[in-house]
């Protein structure tokens, strides 16, 4: 008997006492924070992202280019990689001395490792947890773009922020149904493995800048 057949036979035999049909479990009530107004959700989102020692900047949509340029300059970033579908206006404010590397030209890990920063959009933000979610569409780039460089500047629209985790899960159903990979990010990478001292920036980006465009 193949391992597959044997395991399936064993698990079916093991639950021979179960009489409820598949999928007939009690359905848990959806937990959503209906009392959280849009403004309240955005306020909470900004607060919770900042709580992870990420930098949060709330600006008018028109001010995104200047804000991105300023954030990169303040962190001393001299080179930046951009996803192919990123709004070109967002990097239009960069200093002429900053090298902009289009995603399609960053073909090796070593190239990415030499770049200082990445600028992306996002798919969904979660207020309660301070999480941004990337679905790696054209304005967010393939997964390694937001992983290897040391600084990640992420621009998220106010209308992309939902109250809680189940809201985000519901909103992401189409992307997952299309087998898109997802990356959930809550603050810069961190470890607490040495005597429980939190240290930021172990392997992922050390700096996370979240620009909320309203």
């Amino acid at each position: 008997m193949s391992a597959r057949e044997e395991i399936l036979q064993r698990v079916r035999g093991a639950v021979a006492d179960v009489t409820t049909p598949v999928g007939q479990r009690p359905v848990a009530p959806a937990r959503t924070m209906h009392d959280l107004s849009d403004a309240g959700a955005l306020e909470l989102f900004a607060e919770r992202v900042a709580d992870y020692r990420a930098t949060v900047i709330r600006v008018a949509t028109a001010d995104v280019p200047a804000t991105v340029a300023d954030a990169l300059a303040r962190l001393g970033c001299r080179s930046v990689v951009v996803p192919s579908g990123l709004d070109p206006a967002w990097t239009a404010g960069l200093d002429a001395a900053v090298t902009v590397l289009p995603e399609v030209e960053a073909t090796s890990h070593a190239q990415l490792d030499a770049v200082d920063a990445v600028v992306t959009a996002a798919k969904v933000g979660i207020a309660v947890t301070g999480t941004i979610i990337l679905d790696h569409g054209p304005d967010q780039g393939r997964r390694e773009l937001t992983l290897v460089p040391d600084t990640h500047v992420c621009v998220i629209g106010a209308d992309q922020v939902v109250p809680d985790v189940p809201d985000a899960v519901a909103r992401l159903r189409p992307e997952v149904g299309a087998a898109q990979p997802l990356t959930w990010i809550s603050g810069p990478s961190a470890t607490s493995d040495i005597e429980l001292n939190r240290v930021e920036g172990v392997h992922g980006p050390r700096n996370l800048v979240v620009v909320i465009a309203e």
Partner: protein, 500 residues
């Protein structure tokens, strides 16, 4: 692989052999009380553990209190895991077909040996001599690193704590923070001594400052990430209806291993299945808050098979039984398979807090280890026989468990199994004799007369030891029997005759 499993636990309808075999690493480990005594003597470790468990416990309490319907969430978590477990065959088949539709290759493994063989075959087909690994309990359970190393392949652990454990030739002591028994100065020494042997050396001026130590790990591992061709992981969840695997982490080493290599192999215990995508709603609220005491962990990676132009272009998933179907066969015991390895039960357990993880003799320490190991491996070995007793039954673990595993109930049940399987022992002989004596007043009177005779002989001094009951009497004094029983006194004072 040596220890033979005993029969199934509880009222299983049949034996679902083979059980998980006890790994060579743990064979011959002393039973819990003996191992615990040695660990208790390590004052430094006790101090570290106390600090760690209390810190995480407080953090967890704070973020759990932020959620006003936490109890409803726990019920939802338990319900959806039960749905998955009680219809596991259906959901496994669904998972297999959605993974396959997404371009992944699905393998099935009955036990550790079979899983290791499958992984080794894939790795060898890539002609590489190293792999990078995401921290994973299941690959520790099957001792995959050892199997790969025996075949000449270096398996690099990339989680900072796992790296400390691996470079220190040590064993993990906690599910969440495996190197919690090590101090910063010890970590510095390990890095300075060992890193250069296996890759980029630690900087010569390395201090014991945690950011400097983390930086040394970053530099050491980055060269491995950037050149790795094969990555190996477990999974926190495997979603049946979408064919999505989920890995929850903090450092970004997980993302590195899951996205940079060309080939990704994930070993997934069959109990990790969730029926639907929407089930992640409750689980991703329960897990981070229970585990690290955060509202959300820094990074979660979700992938559904192969994604063209992004990440590994060859994706393998090994579905592992290794004793799980046996646990599933026990109506009471199957709830242990709900476990999402959050480690909340460890951090609230007074026994774990003092003895640490090594005394449990398994990759699954603490209260959940005390129920999982004897169920997965059977109760034949000394260590597995003793684990159900490694608890004060205070119930804190049940309260903390995000999926409501009734650990104290399972411990009591397993104690019953151990006693039943033990057959005749001095203790069971004493209990049987007591039952015989106590069931008949005449026998009791005879016994009391014998006891009072003994009492007169010992002169009322406490007894220091009784042959055959050394384990009891080496820590306790037994009071000397009275010189006269109540019945004898009654007969002398008020009755007639000799009190018979």
């Amino acid at each position: 692989m040596t220890t033979q499993p005993s029969g199934p636990v509880g009222a299983s309808p049949a034996a679902y052999a083979p059980l998980q075999e006890t790994s060579p690493t743990f064979v011959g480990m002393p039973k819990f009380p003996k191992a615990a005594r040695a660990e208790l003597a390590n004052a430094q470790q006790r101090k570290n553990l106390r600090h760690a468990t209390h810190t995480i416990r407080t953090k967890r309490g704070n973020v759990v209190r932020e959620i006003d319907d936490w109890e409803a969430l726990r019920v939802a978590g338990a319900d959806l895991k039960d749905e998955a477990l009680t219809h596991l065959g259906d959901y496994l088949e669904q998972l297999e077909s959605s993974l396959t539709a997404n371009g992944a290759v699905v393998h099935w493994a009955r036990d550790a040996q079979e899983a290791n063989r499958i992984v080794l075959d894939i790795v060898q087909s890539k002609h590489v001599d190293e792999v990078v690994k995401v921290k994973s309990m299941v690959t520790q359970e099957i001792e995959l690193n050892e199997a790969l190393e025996a075949a000449g392949i270096n398996a690099w652990e990339t989680d900072l704590a796992e790296l400390i454990v691996q470079l220190g030739h040590d064993r993990p002591s906690h599910i969440l923070v495996p190197a919690i028994h090590r101090n910063r100065s010890e970590i510095r020494e390990i890095f300075l001594r060992e890193m250069g042997q296996v890759g980029r050396p630690a900087p010569a001026d390395l201090t014991d400052d945690p950011p400097r130590l983390a930086e040394a790990a970053r530099l050491h591992l980055r060269e491995k990430f950037l050149r790795a061709k094969v990555g190996i992981s477990g999974a926190n969840f495997a979603i049946a209806d979408t064919g999505t695997l989920v890995v929850v982490e903090s450092e970004g080493n997980g993302r590195m291993c899951l996205t940079l290599p060309e080939t990704l192999i994930s070993v997934v215990g069959i109990e990790k299945v969730l029926p639907t995508w929407e089930d992640l709603g409750p689980m991703l609220q329960l897990l981070p808050r229970s585990s690290t005491g955060e509202r959300m962990n820094p990074y979660t990676t979700m992938w559904s098979g192969v994604h063209e132009g992004d990440g590994p272009q060859e994706v393998h998933v090994v579905l592992l039984d290794n004793g799980r179907s046996h646990v599933l066969g026990d109506r009471l015991g199957r709830q242990a398979l709900r476990c999402i390895r959050c480690s909340a039960c460890l951090n609230v357990c007074p026994v774990y807090e003092r003895t640490g993880g090594h005394a449990y003799g398994s990759v699954y320490p603490g209260p959940i280890g005390a129920v999982l190991n004897p169920q997965l491996r059977g109760t034949a070995s000394d260590i597995d026989k003793s684990l159900p007793y490694a608890s004060s039954l205070c119930g804190a673990c049940f309260d903390a468990c995000p999926v409501r595993i009734n650990i104290p109930e399972l411990l009591v049940e397993l104690r019953g199994t151990v006693v039943k399987n033990a057959g005749n022992t001095p203790e069971s002989a004493a209990m049987k004799a007591a039952a015989w004596v106590l069931s008949d007043p005449k026998r009791l009177a005879v016994a009391q007369r014998a006891a009072t005779t003994a009492g007169r002989l010992t002169g009322g001094k406490p007894l220091r030891s009784i042959p055959g009951l050394g384990a009891w009497t080496n820590a306790r004094d037994v009071p000397s029997p009275p010189k006269e029983s109540f019945r004898q006194w009654w007969a002398r004072e008020r009755g007639k005759g000799d009190g018979r």
